[in-house]
């Protein structure tokens, strides 16, 4: 469903990604975890064609994202909830997305309902939204085209506990119905509760991957994570 194959990305002389390979199967949620600056966002942007890998390939549904025709109907993306024009209303952001994808206006109301931004909030400018509201709007935007694959960068950032619980339920339902979800996060407790598989990344390299149980080995995911990233830092130094 999603496949990274030996993806490397070099910026001038900094190696942001170093030979990253992993796959995400249909009907599962994969948590892409790593410290800030580990290369998570770079990898996701390469996946959806917004950045070019220096070497290697990334595919979604068996093809490069840029060859998917109208990709928004198959792959939903949230790459940065903060990246919104502050002068546009939430409803307008979704209306533009629905127009691009050729969806009826009614889809906008459905989505606003789904993400809990109905009524007055949807008519306010995004500039006045809290980060949690922007995340809800961003997730709603990703879901507009009823995609089979979801790529979400830090979707839980800024959500309150109710929001996090809502997001968890939503992603679980989508995966149970056969969708593929790849989400990046540094909130380890959260990802432990929602993800089936984990890919850990540090300094641009895949440090570990497996199910939550395999990686935890009886300890918390956090302990494994801290150990592995400390090792990566040491070997890099």
């Amino acid at each position: 469903m999603i496949e990274f194959s030996h993806v490397s990305k070099v910026y001038r002389n900094v190696k942001a990604l170093d030979d990253v390979s992993f796959t995400v199967e249909a009907g599962s949620i994969t948590g892409f975890v790593g410290p800030n600056g580990a290369g998570k966002s770079t990898a996701l942007r390469i996946l959806v064609g917004l950045a070019r890998p220096t070497t290697g390939t990334a595919t979604v549904l068996g093809r490069p994202y840029t060859e998917l025709g109208c990709p928004g109907l198959q792959v939903g993306t949230l790459l940065d909830a903060g990246a919104q024009h502050p002068g546009r209303t939430g409803r307008e952001v979704l209306t533009l997305g629905a127009m691009m994808l050729g969806l009826p206006k009614s889809r906008v109301d459905e989505i606003l309902d789904l993400v809990g931004l109905s009524g007055g909030e949807s008519r306010r400018a995004v500039g006045g939204y809290s980060l949690g509201m922007r995340q809800r709007l961003g997730v709603g935007h990703a879901l507009l085209g009823r995609p089979r694959v979801l790529v979400l960068d830090e979707p839980a950032n800024g959500l309150d506990p109710q929001g996090i619980q809502w997001m968890r339920g939503l992603l679980r339902d989508l995966a149970d119905l056969g969708s593929t979800v790849l989400l990046s996060t540094h909130l380890l407790h959260e990802v432990e509760q929602v993800a089936d598989h984990i890919v850990m990344i540090g300094r641009g390299r895949v440090l570990a991957r497996g199910t939550v149980g395999e990686l935890g080995r009886g300890r918390s995911l956090e302990q494994t994570f801290l150990e592995l990233t400390a090792d990566a830092d040491r070997s890099a130094a």
């Binding site: 109907l73 198959q74 990246a83 533009l96 997305g97 995609p147 089979r148 056969g178």
Partner: protein
């Protein structure tokens, strides 16, 4: 949990081909005016055109050609600014992430914007004509003087073409710099700069004569182009439009979106 997001798109029955170009065009048109800033610039433009045509009509008398041309003063300054804002906003607010995730064939977005600015410039020119005609009539009636309706289709086409060139030049500058303040400052200070260049001896005078888009387009706007005027217009168009548009488009297409 509602099931409004379900089922997923049925790929066997849904048209998954590229987003049709007319859809991109509609989305870009909507983006021009759906933010506070965009709608303010657009309404200022409308009010300015109305006010300047009416007041010029009152002061100058009922001459259709002059009144239509009056609107061009506002258009030459503000329409390019609207063009600049439409291309740079995306990188300032980073909505490029969304735009190019939904349209990975990136060249289509600037292409839609170019076509859109052309449409907007033509529509704005027609709007000026629509305002100027009744104003000319009313002023002539009120003052009881004969109205001058003389305006050739050639003049009108040349003036509309000038508006199109100026808007596309703004767009090109915006795409080249991807920075609204810099592009707007350069655009607005260009006339001053050229008048300085003109005074820098013979070389400066030649440079201004061939490269200052405002002066090379004035024969076009007046509808009396000579062969030399056409050559000067072509050179300044290459300098202000073809080169920055090409470089800017290549940059937008190749750039990593962050």
């Amino acid at each position: 949990m509602t099931d409004t997001h379900l089922p997923v798109t049925d790929i066997t029955t849904t048209d998954l081909r590229r987003t049709p170009f007319h859809r991109l065009l509609c989305v870009e048109a909507r983006k021009l005016v759906d933010t506070r800033c965009g709608s303010i610039v657009a309404s200022i433009l409308l009010v300015l055109v109305l006010a300047s045509i009416v007041s010029r009509g009152v002061v100058f008398g009922p001459d259709l050609h002059t009144l239509v041309g009056t609107a061009g003063i506002g258009y030459g300054t503000l329409l390019p600014v609207l063009g600049i804002l439409s291309v740079t906003g995306e990188w300032v607010h980073r909505t490029a992430l969304t735009t190019y995730a939904l349209e990975p064939h990136r060249w289509r977005v600037p292409a839609a914007r170019c076509l859109l600015s052309l449409i907007v410039a033509v529509a704005a020119s027609l709007f000026a004509l629509l305002v100027a005609v009744p104003v000319t009539g009313v002023v002539a009636n009120v003052r009881n003087v004969p109205a001058t309706w003389e305006i050739t289709p050639f003049m009108l086409a040349g003036w509309t073409g000038t508006n199109v060139l100026l808007v596309v030049a703004g767009l090109a500058l915006g795409m080249l710099l991807l920075n609204a303040p810099a592009a707007i400052v350069i655009w607005l200070s260009a006339p001053v700069l050229w008048s300085v260049v003109k005074r820098l001896g013979a070389g400066g005078e030649v440079a201004a004569e061939w490269l200052d888009l405002n002066s090379t387009t004035s024969p076009l706007a007046a509808g009396d182009m000579t062969g030399g005027d056409a050559a000067r217009l072509a050179v300044s168009t290459i300098f202000w439009i073809v080169v920055p548009l090409t470089v800017g488009a290549l940059r937008v297409i190749r750039k990593d979106v962050n």
